[in-house]
C-alpha cells in the first residue's frame, strides 16, 4: 500500500513539472495557433540558466525560489526576443512551416547551449534542505518533490486568475477566438502575441529550473520535454489549460506506475495513452473542434512542366544514369542515399500535399520497411524488398483506419505517437531487434555487391516508384484524393468516400516509404532505431517543405538539396546544427512556398504566360 502511495506522489510531482511546460505550450498555441517545437528548448535553456543562477546563490529555500523566478523571467525575455525576431514573420505561413521554423530554432539552441555550457551534464549541488524528506506511511518521501506537487495547482490557479480577472487575460481569450476582430476593435495584436509568448516561455523556463534538483541540466532536455509536452497538450485538448492539467496528472501518474510495473514499456506508455485518447476523443479530453477554414488559399492545380524543365529533367536523368562511370565511390554512396531520400520524401508528399494529412512520424514506415529487410535474414533481395513495401503498406492500412478520422495538428501528433511506439519497440525489444545496437550484416546478393549495380537498382526503384506515385496523383484516384482534401463535405456530396480516399493516400505513402526503408537497409547493411527517430521524420518533412508541397518535383528537389546541404554541413563545420537551423529559419521566412514553388513563381515572372 505504501509503495502505491509513494509512487502516486512521485507521479503527481512529475505531473507538476509536465504541466508547467505544457501550460506554456497550450497558451501559446491558443493565441498564436503556432505549435511551438522550440518550447522544449526554452525549457532546456531554463535548466541551464537556472543552473548558472542557482550555483551563484546561497543554498537555502528562499534564495532557491528567487533564483527560479529570476530564471523564469530570463527565459521569458528570450521568448520575447524569439517571437519578435522570428515567429512574428511566420504567423501567416502554413502550419507546418511554423513547426519547421521552430524546429530550426531547436537545432540552433542545441548548438548554442553546448557552446556556452559544454556537453557535460550539469548537476545542481544540493543544499541540505533539498536532501530533506518526510515520513509517509513508513516510507521516506523527498520534501522537494512534495513541494513540487503543490506548484502545479498553484500555477493553474494563478493562470486562471490572470486569464479571467485581468483585461490582458480577457483580450487573450478574445484573440484565441477571433484575432482579426480583436484587432478591428483597436487592440494591438503584436503586443498581445509577444506577451503571450513571453509568458509561455517563462513557464517553460520555470519548469526547466524546477526540474534541476531531480535531474541535471543536460542537452537531451529539449526533445524529451517537447514530446512529453506534446502528448500532454494533445491529450488535454489543444488550447485548454484545465485539459493540460488533467492530462499531465494522467500521464505523470501513469509513468510513475509504469516504471514500477512494466519497465520495458515505459517509452510506449505515454504515446499509447495519447493514441487511445485521440481515437476515442479526436479533439483531446477538453479540446474543442478546431476551425478548419484556416487555409484560405486552395493549392492551384499544378500545370504540366514547361518544355525547358522537361529538357532539364532529361539532362539530369542522363547525368544520374551515367554517374557510376565518372564518380568516386564516396559520392556514389551519397547519391544512392539521395535517391532513397527522393522516394521517402515523395511518399510523404503524397500524404501531405494531395492527401492533406501532415505527418510527424513518417519515419515509422521507413523504419518498418528497413526492419522487415533486417529481420528477414537470408531472404533473397527480390523477395525481401517487395515484402518491405507490403508489410509497411499493410500496417499503414490498419493504422490509417484511426488516423484518417483526425485532421491538422491532431493527425500530425497521432502519427508522431505511432512513430514513437514503433521506435520504442525497436529500441526496447532488444531480443529480436537488437535494441540500440541494431541489426547488422544485411548482405546484398552477389550481383548487387558492386556499388554501381546497386546504385542502378536504387535509381530504377526510386525514380520508378516516384513516377508511379506521380502517375497515381494525376489519375482519377489522385483527383478524388485532392477533392477530399479541399472540401470533404462537397466531395462526400458528389459521392466520393472521403475517408477511404484518405486511407488510400495514407497506405500508398506508407508502402512507398517502406520500400525506401528496405533499400536503405541494403545500402547501409544495417538497421538502427535512429531510422525511426523524430529527427528522421523531420528530415522527410524538411525535404518536402524545402522543395514545396504543391507538386511532385518539390520532394525531388527538396531531397537532393537537403541531402547535399546536410552532407556538406556535416563535413564543413562542427556547428552544423546551428547552420542548418539558421538555414531552415531563413528559408521558411524567405520562401514559404518552398524551392520548387519559388522557382516556379520566378519562372512565371520572367516568362509571363
Amino acid at each position: 500500500m505504501d509503495v502505491v502511495l509513494l509512487q502516486l506522489l512521485t507521479g503527481l510531482s512529475g505531473a507538476s513539472s509536465l504541466f508547467l511546460v505544457a501550460a506554456g505550450l497550450t497558451v501559446i498555441f491558443g493565441v498564436t495557433r503556432v505549435v511551438n517545437f522550440s518550447h522544449g528548448s526554452l525549457c532546456m535553456l531554463g535548466a541551464y540558466i537556472g543552473w548558472t543562477i542557482l550555483t551563484h546563490l546561497p543554498r537555502d529555500p528562499a534564495w532557491f525560489v528567487a533564483g527560479v523566478l529570476l530564471t523564469a523571467a530570463a527565459t521569458g525575455l528570450i521568448g520575447m526576443a524569439l517571437e519578435m525576431t522570428l515567429l512574428r514573420r511566420v504567423y501567416r505561413a502554413p502550419e507546418l512551416f511554423q513547426l519547421l521554423a521552430t524546429f530550426g530554432v531547436v537545432l540552433m539552441v542545441q548548438d548554442i547551449t553546448q557552446w556556452i555550457w559544454g556537453a557535460e551534464d550539469l548537476p545542481l549541488p544540493r543544499g541540505r534542505w533539498l536532501r530533506g524528506g518526510v515520513e509517509i506511511l513508513g516510507g521516506r518521501f523527498p520534501i522537494y518533490d512534495l513541494a513540487l506537487i503543490g506548484v502545479g495547482p498553484l500555477v493553474l490557479g494563478l493562470l486562471w486568475l490572470l486569464f479571467t480577472r485581468t483585461r490582458w487575460g480577457t483580450l487573450v481569450r478574445a484573440a484565441t477566438f477571433d484575432r482579426e476582430m480583436v484587432s478591428a476593435l483597436g487592440v494591438d495584436q503584436r503586443m498581445l502575441f509577444t506577451s503571450v509568448f513571453a509568458l509561455g516561455a517563462a513557464l517553460a523556463g520555470l519548469g526547466g529550473a524546477l526540474g534541476l534538483p531531480q535531474a541535471s541540466a543536460n542537452l537531451n532536455i529539449d526533445l524529451t520535454v517537447i514530446t512529453d509536452a506534446f502528448v500532454v497538450v494533445v491529450v488535454g485538448g489543444l488550447g485548454s489549460l484545465v485539459g493540460a492539467f488533467l492530462a499531465s496528472i494522467l500521464i505523470g501518474v501513469l509513468q510513475a506506475f509504469g516504471v514500477l510495473l512494466l519497465p520495458q514499456a515505459t517509452l510506449v506508455l505515454a504515446f499509447l495513452v495519447m493514441a487511445v485518447v485521440l481515437v476515442l476523443r479526436p479533439n483531446g479530453l477538453l479540446g474543442k473542434a478546431q476551425a478548419t477554414a484556416r487555409s484560405a488559399s486552395i493549392a492551384c492545380l499544378v500545370r504540366p512542366a514547361p518544355t525547358a524543365l522537361k529538357l532539364f529533367a532529361m539532362a539530369a536523368l542522363l547525368v544520374a544514369i551515367t554517374a557510376p562511370f565518372w564518380t568516386e565511390p564516396f559520392l556514389l554512396s551519397v547519391l544512392t542515399e539521395a535517391l532513397i531520400s527522393i522516394l521517402f520524401a515523395a511518399s510523404l508528399h503524397v500524404m501531405m500535399g494531395p492527401g492533406g494529412m501532415p505527418s510527424f512520424g513518417h519515419a515509422a514506415w521507413f523504419g518498418i520497411g528497413a526492419y522487415t529487410v533486417g529481420l528477414l535474414v537470408g531472404a533473397p533481395l527480390p523477395l525481401a524488398l517487395p515484402l518491405a513495401l507490403l508489410v509497411a503498406g499493410l500496417i499503414a492500412a490498419a493504422f490509417g483506419l484511426f488516423v484518417v478520422r483526425l485532421s491538422g495538428v491532431y493527425l500530425a501528433m497521432l502519427t508522431l505517437a505511432f512513430a514513437q511506439i514503433v521506435w520504442a519497440i525497436a529500441f526496447q525489444g532488444v531480443s529480436f531487434t537488437g535494441g540500440d545496437n541494431g541489426l547488422l550484416g544485411i548482405r546484398r546478393p552477389g550481383w548487387a555487391l558492386d556499388a554501381g549495380n546497386f546504385y542502378w537498382l536504387t535509381l530504377g526503384v526510386c525514380l520508378g516508384g516516384t513516377l508511379l506515385l506521380r502517375r497515381i496523383l494525376y489519375a482519377p484516384l489522385g483527383y478524388a484524393i485532392r477533392a477530399a482534401r479541399d472540401s470533404a463535405v462537397r466531395a462526400e456530396a458528389i459521392g466520393l468516400p472521403t475517408n477511404r480516399l484518405r486511407l488510400a493516400a495514407f497506405t500508398l505513402a506508407g508502402a512507398a516509404a517502406g520500400l525506401s526503408g528496405g533499400l536503405f537497409s541494403y545500402a547501409k547493411g544495417s538497421v538502427f532505431p535512429t531510422y525511426i527517430s523524430i529527427g528522421h521524420s523531420v528530415d522527410a518533412l524538411l525535404m518536402v517543405l524545402l522543395g514545396g508541397v504543391d507538386s511532385i518535383s518539390g520532394p525531388i528537389v527538396g531531397a537532393l538539396a537537403y541531402t547535399g546541404l546536410y552532407d556538406m554541413l556535416l563535413r564543413a563545420t562542427s556547428l552544423w546544427r546551428l547552420v542548418l537551423g539558421a538555414t531552415i529559419v531563413v528559408l521558411v521566412v524567405a520562401f514559404p512556398e518552398g524551392i520548387a514553388g519559388a522557382s516556379q513563381r520566378l519562372w512565371h515572372r520572367v516568362r509571363p504566360t
Binding site: 480577457t170 484587432s183 476593435l185 483597436g186
Partner: protein, 233 residues
C-alpha cells in the same frame, strides 16, 4: 468626417472595388446600398483595414488611414461592426464589452457599460451570459455596443438588419437614429431600402464594385428606374 477617393481593392486577382469615391459628412448617416456581392462588405473591410486597398486615399478627420493596420484605424476613431457580428463566444457580455473598451475621445461623452445598457435594454440583464448563448438579435446589439466601447467618432455598420425579426429590425432603426443624435457618424451597408430609408440621410448605390448612383435617400425613393436597375432582385 470620411473622404474616400479612388479606392481599389482586390481579392487575389479579382478586382472587387473599382475607383470608389465618396464622402461622409460629420454627424450624417450614409447608406451604401447594393445587391449581394456588389462590394459593400469589401468596402467596409477596406475602410477598417481588414482588406488592404491596392490604391486610393481614405481620410478620416483629415488623417490618412489607407493601408494602415486595423488596430491603428480603430484607435483613430473608426468603429467596425461586421456583418457576421463576430461575438467572442467564450466570453460573457461584460467581457465582450471590455475587449472593445478604448480611451475616451476628446469632445465625446465616453460610452460606459451603464450608458450602453440604457441604449440596449436587452443586454443589461444578461451581463454574465456567454456570447454563444445569445440570440442573433442580441448578438447584433452586443456587437454594436462592443464597438461603441471604443468611443469611435464614426462607425461602420455592415448589414445590421440581416436575418433579424421585424421587431428587432425596428429596434435597430431606433438605435441608429439614437446614435445619430449622440453625434456619431454612421456608414451603413444595406440591401433593404425600406430600412435604409428610415435611418439614412443620403445613399450611395454600388453595383459590381463601382458607384452607380448617389444622392439623397428621398431622391432614390422617387427614382424608380435606379431602384429597378440596381436594387430589385
Amino acid at each position: 468626417m470620411l473622404r474616400v477617393h479612388g479606392l481599389n481593392s482586390y481579392y487575389g486577382r479579382a478586382h472587387i472595388l473599382q475607383d470608389l469615391s465618396f464622402d461622409v459628412a460629420a454627424g450624417e448617416v450614409l447608406v451604401l446600398l447594393g445587391r449581394n456581392g456588389a462590394g459593400k462588405s469589401t468596402t467596409m473591410k477596406s475602410l477598417i483595414g481588414l482588406v488592404r486597398p491596392a490604391t486610393g486615399t481614405i481620410r478620416l478627420a483629415d488623417r490618412d488611414i489607407a493601408g494602415q493596420e486595423p488596430f491603428r484605424i480603430a484607435r483613430a476613431g473608426l468603429g467596425y461592426v461586421p456583418e457576421e457580428r463576430r461575438i467572442f463566444a467564450d466570453l460573457t457580455v461584460a467581457e465582450n464589452l471590455e475587449v472593445g473598451r478604448q480611451k475616451p475621445r476628446p469632445g465625446l461623452l465616453p460610452w460606459t457599460e451603464a450608458r450602453l445598457f440604457a441604449l440596449f435594454p436587452n443586454l443589461g440583464p444578461m451581463r454574465d451570459r456567454l456570447g454563444c448563448r445569445m440570440s442573433g438579435g442580441e448578438q447584433q446589439m452586443l456587437s454594436i455596443a462592443r464597438t461603441l466601447m471604443g468611443n469611435p467618432g464614426m462607425i461602420l455598420l455592415d448589414e445590421p438588419s440581416e436575418g433579424l425579426s421585424p421587431l428587432i429590425v425596428e429596434q435597430m432603426a431606433h438605435t441608429i437614429v439614437a446614435l445619430k443624435q449622440e453625434g456619431v457618424t454612421v456608414l451603413l451597408a444595406e440591401q433593404n431600402l425600406h430600412f435604409a430609408a428610415r435611418v439614412a440621410d443620403r445613399a450611395v448605390v454600388i453595383e459590381k464594385g463601382r458607384i452607380a448612383w448617389s444622392g439623397s435617400i428621398a431622391a432614390l425613393q422617387q427614382d424608380e428606374t435606379a431602384r429597378a436597375q440596381y436594387l430589385s432582385v
